[in-house]
């Protein structure tokens, strides 16, 4: 549906956020994973036509956004839930959806728009709150309303940026399920730095870091790449030369470090590598420090 080739972006202050992104967005659910500052939001902004790239090309079902006349069609094609989504507080959930539908010029009658809005509110579990001002909604309810507004005009792709950040576990699970349901009928691009969200929902993953796509395939493939390179060692044992700590956990009551070590001539057992460990291993393999210090040198 969307092909992105060699997208680069350098901000006016000289910071290069994207260094040449190549990505295809098709059916199903694509998870875009990356550490903070990796360029995910920049990438999504470019995808949503809210930011002009410095270079590269994009194609939306064959429509080239280089030509301004294509923008309305492209915009109709996409629904967006921004990271800092906030509905218009004085509008009720229902009014807000109706407003969004009208602004996006849905070719429906007023009655049909209201019906569709109510159905969507139902789908995002907001039926009971439909008549309340959205300012009174909790964080999770707002995100769900955000998904509803992103879907109101029946887009072919819904782009969701960091949707679960700040949500409590219960709301996060509910939201993941919601996204998962949406992806049955609509392509979804989920951008997050939370691996768990991707693991639970996505059948394809793209890892972006330092403005480049490090990986673009199924989550299982990412795990497979990490097999034999990720193992645990007791926390008090010195790190083998060339290895990098990519995590720590408590295993059988003992604190252990999870390390990435691709110098070991004896492959590790291939069981027990999670997607998060595989993701961390990928970042470590590309020289990122994972001790909380952000990308390494």
């Amino acid at each position: 549906m969307i092909q992105v080739r060699g997208i680069t972006k350098t901000y006016p202050d000289g910071h290069t956020a994207l260094k040449g992104i190549d990505l295809d967005v098709g059916e199903g659910m694509l998870g875009v994973l990356g550490p903070n500052g990796a360029g995910k939001t920049t990438f999504l902004s470019i995808l949503m036509l809210t930011l002009q790239p410095s270079g590269g090309s994009r194609s939306y079902d064959g429509l080239d956004p280089h030509f301004r006349r294509n923008w309305p069609s492209i915009r109709r094609m996409i629904g967006f839930l921004p990271q800092s989504f906030s509905p218009i507080g004085h509008l009720t959930g229902l009014e807000y959806l109706v407003h969004c539908a009208r602004m996006r010029e849905m070719p429906l009658t007023g009655h049909e728009i209201e019906q569709r809005s109510r159905r969507l509110l139902d789908e995002v579990y907001l039926t009971e709150a439909a008549g309340r001002p959205s300012a009174e909604y909790s964080g999770g309810m707002r995100r769900r309303l955000g998904i509803a507004q992103a879907l109101i005009h029946a887009p072919r792709l819904v782009v969701v940026d960091e949707p679960t950040a700040g949500l409590d576990p219960e709301e996060r699970i509910r939201f993941r399920n919601l996204i998962s349901d949406v992806s049955q009928s609509t392509a979804v691009l989920l951008s997050t730095h939370i691996v768990e969200d991707i693991e639970a929902t996505c059948d394809r993953i793209a890892v972006i870091a330092r403005g480049s796509v490090l990986f673009d395939d199924a989550p299982a493939t990412l795990i497979r790449h990490a097999l034999g390179k990720v193992r645990t060692i007791p926390a008090e044992v010195p790190l083998p030369p060339g290895s990098v700590v990519i995590g720590s956990k408590v295993d059988l009551g003992e604190r252990v470090n999870v390390i990435y070590d691709d110098t070991n001539p004896f492959p590790c057992p291939d069981d027990g590598v999670t997607l998060e460990e595989a993701y961390s291993a990928l970042l470590a393999a590309h020289g990122f420090r994972l001790d909380g210090g952000g990308p390494g040198a």
């Binding site: 901000y11 202050d13 930011l51 956004p65 309305p72 004085h90 509008l91 009014e95 009208r102 602004m103």
Partner: protein
Amino acid sequence: MRLFRAFVAHELRTQLRSRRFQLIAAVYVLVVSAVPVVMALSRSRTGIRLGAGNYAAATFLFAPLLTALVAALLSVDGINRERDEGSLSIVAIAPLSNAGYILRRWGAMNVVLLPLSLAPVLVAFTTSNLAGAPVRDLSLFLWPWLIQVVPLCLAATAFAIGLGTITGRTIVAGMAAVLIFALFDSFGNDILGYFGHRIDGIGEWLNLYPRSMGFVASLFNQNLYLGLPPGSDAPYDPGFALGSLIPRAATGFGLAALFGGLGCAFLRRTRADLHPWRVSEKNQLRTYIGIANRIRENYSPDPGLALPDFLLILAGLLIFAASIGLIINLDSWFRGRARERYNAEISGLPQQTPISVQPRSWRIDAEITGPTLRSRVTGVMINSGSRAESHLSFMLNPTLRVVSSEVEGRRTMIARAWDRLALDIDPPLQPTETCVIHFNIAGTPSTIDFAISRPPFVTAYETLMKAVEPWDLADMSRSKTGKLIQNRRIRLEPTDLTPVPRYTTLQLTPPSTSMEVIGRLVPEERFSPRAHVAYSIRVPRRIMLAGPCGGISRPSGNHAQLDGDCQLFLSDMAILGGPWTPVEMPGVGVALVLAPHVEDLKRLAPLWQKASELAGKYWPRFNVLQSAVVVETVPEIGLNGWAGQDYFDVVWESDEKSRSTTHGKVIEVPELVLRLKKAFPAETVAREALTGELMRRRLVPAEQQLFFRRFYRVYAERRLRGGRRQGAVMTGNGAVRIPILTAEENWSPAFNVRLPAAFLDLEHRLGARRIDEAIESIVSDPSEAPFDARALFEVLGARSGVPLERFYSDFIAGSALPELSLEDVIFAKTPDGWDVRGKLHNLGTGESLCQIVLRTDLEPVSSTIRLDSGQSNVFVLHTRYRPQVLQVDPDRVCFRWRAIGDIDRVEYKGEK
């Protein structure tokens, strides 16, 4: 349209739920409505009965300014709210273009604001009805709203939405707005100044006039009521108002379109890709470059604008350019007309018509269609002089065209410059010969009021032409053309209907040494010939007309026709019209007034009746106020703030002020006068009618016209009302030593104080009957030679046998003022009574002729003493009876000044 409805629905819902909007809207409605409401509550303090027009005018005193402020504030606030609450993200992915968004936003904002701006109008409408001024004509409220408020609201929202979108913040937008207008006024006018143009700001569009605040303050002051904003109950004239609006609104409208259009390039739905500026770490200016880079990032136009966006920007630019072009075009047009007028006035040409050539008959056949007039004039002129004349000069409204002109049986050379028309005929008009002149006139008769500082025009125009600094230039686009034919009123003076012979020179008056405003003027016509005048004028049926021969227009099919045929001074050939209701006035004739003023007229009718009786009683031969047509004339009210008849003129001015104007049988009464609560003296009406009549009877020299007008006025006043209360004595600091003959200002104390005092002395010396006889002989003299002030006093002296040479040279032509004081007064008992001795000293100047009177227990003794400047004379008065008091001029009939310390009364306090 569906999308626009969505914008409107959202804007309505958002604003109506917003506390901020509710507060602003409430304050707006309260403040704008407060003016008419408080005016209604304090209506007992006004000098006139308030009409619906007054309530309408009060409503729109602040409505334009406040509407603009509220519209701008809410628009900018809406932009910020949208960004703050995140609803712009909805817009960001909506498929509409930036232009589509901005335009719909603007439209939706106005759908909210325009009904709001109607709320105070409804309050005022209700107030007017409740306060005893029923609104018969809704257009009095609706037209001003449409013309003064709606365009301003549209422009303010466009400007604010544009600027708010560009700047992104309310405060920055406010600062930017101030900066834009300041720069436009200063820098813009600096540039325009190089090309000799200037564009004034939008203050007049906002109706910003200092007097408005003074009026509002007076509403709350129990003792003072400062005027009224000009309002009329006559139907509103949208054409005139629009004509005034366009040059005043063009700048603001253009700027609004420009910024409204540019706003769509700064919606920031898509941020541009800007190349980074490489700044070395060692660069001394890196901080400033960083700031500049951030500004560049924040204020770079959106990339990839769509065709509608470009069209909107282009439209904004075109409207802006068209607005400026319109202003400059208007400015140039008025400059052109001003140049024509200047060239004509400075030339002093053409030569005036010889006084020997006068009209014998004058016929005007005219048709009024819309604002235009077509007139066919046939005049018969006779040469009563002793030599052949070939040059005739006429005056004609400069906005009228002479389609054709012809003098029967003669070759005619015609020349036109501004309001002058010269005809040179060949062969010349021989003595006693007559000629028939035909004129075909067409056009839209209008007044042109040039927007150049104060009069005189010639001086003001020269100042403008010599201007080198922008502030010396004038925005001539603000000049006004006022159509003389409107649906609400028709007011055609003689030169608006026909070329009128000009007998007074057109050479400018000399520059004044005292006041610039009264020098270098085209002299007023001082002679108006009397002729047999006939006219026949057709108008649309809805208009009624009145003409100087009396009578009113009669319906004739779809038209109304006014016919007249009488002997008339050509200067009285005025045609007045309006959407009037006729009312019979017993003893006078008929009155034509606006329907809401019929009751007012009935209240004033006895006054007119009395004025007519008075005029008939004293000067039955003149017959000036009988079978008159009293017509109400309405002020010309457009958008020009406080233009129109001044409330003070009507309510507060003393009875010196004339409140009506007479044109033959037509008496023109301004609307405000008709609504006066307190009736003014009937004598003033009669006085003005008589003064005009006396002036027209005899030609006087141009430079003495003002003197004669005031002399006749004092004379009429004396007959009708008894004259000056203080008699011929001037007291206090009011010793006026200005020669009456050469006083230049109509308001001069020489006319208002010195002349009435001197006249009483004159009457005392000559006797009232002698003066009446002398004046009767002067105005009845068929001689056409100018008659001057010296000749006037010679006739007065000859009639009465009293020499008046010194009186004239001392008090009329000169500035002398006697000041008398008694000195060394002694009451001495003699065998047969008493001797009273003393000296009377003239401490002042000029020859006084005053009486001293000794009052006694039985009969007074008096003596008249003539004293020249500084002279003192001894007097002795003898009486057989016990004296009481010695007085100088006890009847106050001797023209003099009584200063503090002067002794003009000595009481007898016993024998010495």
